[in-house]
Amino acid sequence: MSIFEDRFVTLAHGNGGRYMRELIVEIFARHLSNPELDVTTDAAAIALDEGMVVMTTTDGFIVQPLEFPGGDIGSLCVHGTVNDLAVSGAKPLYLTLNAFIEEGFDLRVLDRLVQSLGKAAKEAGVRVVAGDTKVVPRGHGGGLYLASTGIGVRRPDLNLGLKQIEPGDAILVSGPIGDHGIAVLLAREDFDLKGDVRSDNACVTNLTEPLLKLPNLRFMRDPTRGGLAMVCNEIAQGAKVQIRLNESVIPVREPVRGVCEMLGYDPYYLACEGRVVAIVSADIAEQALAIWKGIPGGEDAKIIGSVEKGKSRVIVQTMIGGERLLEELEDDPLPRIC
């Protein structure tokens, strides 16, 4: 018997019996297999390098639709967690996974999403070492919710954080902003808009690792929910500095800009899933930029602004030479109506 003789997930796949074992073996274990994943034990033993600082983070994924141009919930579940470790200066090593599957979910779609998750994990160099599946009754989930916890290690001498940021520092972004937010929005088909925008959904370790060698790397963050605007506001408040951004150099793709203009969104608040914002001392800004530009995914990197003494706020220098403040996001960005 193969699990695929059924078409849909039923509550029986969550009952702890034969159906559940088949679900785990034929879908999850098949795509996620690695030497440390043993589906028959209750806890996994993992080896970590001695002398390194162990870092951990956790994240939940409820994106709708589950598949969108440039990615899906499976790859997002890897990248979201791995990237949080990466921007903290850690080398991501392991993941644990929770899957909440809705009764009636198409098993072939589940298979495809877990396969994508497995592929993303492999490419990111992380192993899924523990997991759990639950089936929730129909109507209690968006098809599939995922949660992952990441474990990685960091050099003990690495000093990254808001406290390291000083006036005069430069702010870099690794690529165009807002791609993920707009790709998902268009995929929802709520707006009768079509556009060729792919999510930037990607693992960023190839961008973060080379910067870790620089002596005056102060801080890194991935601008996910809340986008560049919220990262900058967090920096301004956390480091008690003023941030000045230069609108004319902040990279935003034309189709993203177009959709934003039509719907009244501000690209600065839109989510990215494969970009890094880095703060470095001014003297190594060009060096950091050159490193990024030489890496796939970093070709469009830019120095977008600077850290100044002043009130904890974010100033945007507009293209025409005016100024405005970039405020914290107030509520869900909703489209304007005319």
């Binding site: 709520d190 707006f191 009768d192 004319s248 203009e261 719907l263 009244g264 501000d266 706020r313 100033i315 945007v316 507009t318 293209m319 025409i320 030479g321 005016g322 100024e323 405005r324 403040l325 970039l326 405020e327 107030e330 509520d331 869900d332 909703l334 489209p335 304007r336 109506i337 005319c338």
Partner: protein, 370 residues
């Protein structure tokens, strides 16, 4: 960008002996102007005043109250443009005062962005009555008219709160003090209704006017045009958004609107009745009119019906009589997090736009009549 710099340079080279007050009547224009920091980049005696450009802000309190009441009926799904959800009305303290509060209390309220979404909600829920609360100017009302013309599912009706833009401008110009010396006419509205709609500003009132698009360049080009007209006292409606706004607008859309909608006298929140300034669903489409289907009538005995909240100066902000920061509640009692007036709720509202672009303090003032 050199384009914007070019216009800016030409505007800066102009000399005016007294302040020139230029009004825009579109939330989208105000957004671009504020986000680009245009006011700060212009000479001090050129004032750009946000006027009646926010349909959410002028939607009558009674309509919001009615929508909330409908939403509380368990057989009804109420759909509305996202902007409308947080607009407060004067319901008694014990009841929900906004659609968002009604939603939190269990009402089935769904924010949408397009009539297509409304149609799919109606089709997916045949056992429910779906009411589409549609507030908007011509640009938003045109797709609603198209939806009516194509035929709506039986369980769908529309609570229409549509408004025309130009009658509010006409009302200002016919009042004792219009409060502005030149007009930037709305691009999207003109794309549908035709730029000719704004001829009266120039011909009847001798006020410079130009239709603008939504980039800083387009707005600066229109601004330069009206300033030129003003300086030489030769008002002539100029179309600075010709790529998108053809003469005559969109005849198909206008025809569908004329077939499905009647133009009626309409109430503007805090401002009052403006003649021939609103859309109502035509009798031929009465089946899809929520006001008729649910026999909705305004209860004039309700406390504070139709009134603005105490202290709220939204009506004068909408009419361009004061800048948002001249309202005593601005940024104090009234912020996007705890809005008192509708102008602080909508992304089209001048107060919301100013506040979220970081305009603080209350020192900016509109000049008296020159």
């Amino acid at each position: 960008m050199s384009n914007a710099a070019y216009w800016l340079e030409r505007i800066r080279a102009m000399r005016f002996s007294a302040p020139v007050r230029v009004m825009n009547v579109c939330g989208g224009h105000e957004r671009t102007i504020t986000h680009a920091g245009l006011r700060g980049a212009l000479p001090k005696n050129i004032e750009i005043i946000p006027g009646p450009g926010c349909p959410v802000c002028v939607c009558p309190e009674e309509d919001i109250f009615t929508a909330i009441e409908l939403a509380q009926n368990p057989n009804i799904i109420l759909v509305a443009f996202g902007d409308m959800l947080r607009v407060p009305c004067n319901a008694p303290k014990t009841s929900p005062r906004s659609l968002e509060q009604a939603k939190a209390a269990g009402a089935d309220v769904r924010p949408v962005a397009s009539p297509a979404q409304v149609l799919s909600i109606a089709r997916e829920n045949p056992q429910k009555d779906v009411v589409f609360f549609a507030a908007g100017f011509e640009t938003t009302t045109a797709p609603v008219a198209a939806m009516l013309a194509q035929g709506t599912p039986e369980n769908l009706s529309v609570l229409l709160s549509g408004r025309l833009t130009w009658p509010a401008v006409a009302m200002l110009l016919e009042s004792e003090s219009a409060g502005f010396d030149a007009l930037i006419a709305p691009g999207h509205v003109s794309a549908i209704m035709g730029p000719e709609e704004w001829e009266f500003v120039v011909k009847k009132h001798n006020i410079p006017a130009a239709v603008a698009g939504f980039t800083p360049e387009s707005l600066l080009a229109a601004l330069y045009s009206v300033l030129q007209q003003f300086q030489h006292n030769r008002p002539a409606l100029e179309n600075c958004y010709a790529g998108v706004v053809p003469q005559g607008g969109n005849p198909t859309a206008r025809k569908i609107m004329a077939e499905t909608l009647d133009v009626v006298d309409a109430n503007w929140r805090g401002i009052g009745i403006i003649p021939a300034s609103g859309y109502a669903i035509a009798d031929a489409y009465a089946d899809a009119d929520a006001r008729k289907r649910f026999a909705l009538e305004v209860d004039h005995s309700r406390k504070r019906v139709g009134e603005m909240p105490p202290g709220c100066d939204c009506a004068r902000v909408v009419l361009g009589k004061i800048y948002p920061n001249q309202c005593i509640l601005y940024g104090k009692a009234c912020t996007p997090r705890k809005p008192i007036g509708p102008c602080m709720v909508s992304d089209e509202g001048a107060c919301r736009i100013w506040w979220s672009s970081g305009i603080r303090g209350q020192d900016r003032k509109i000049s008296e009549n020159a």
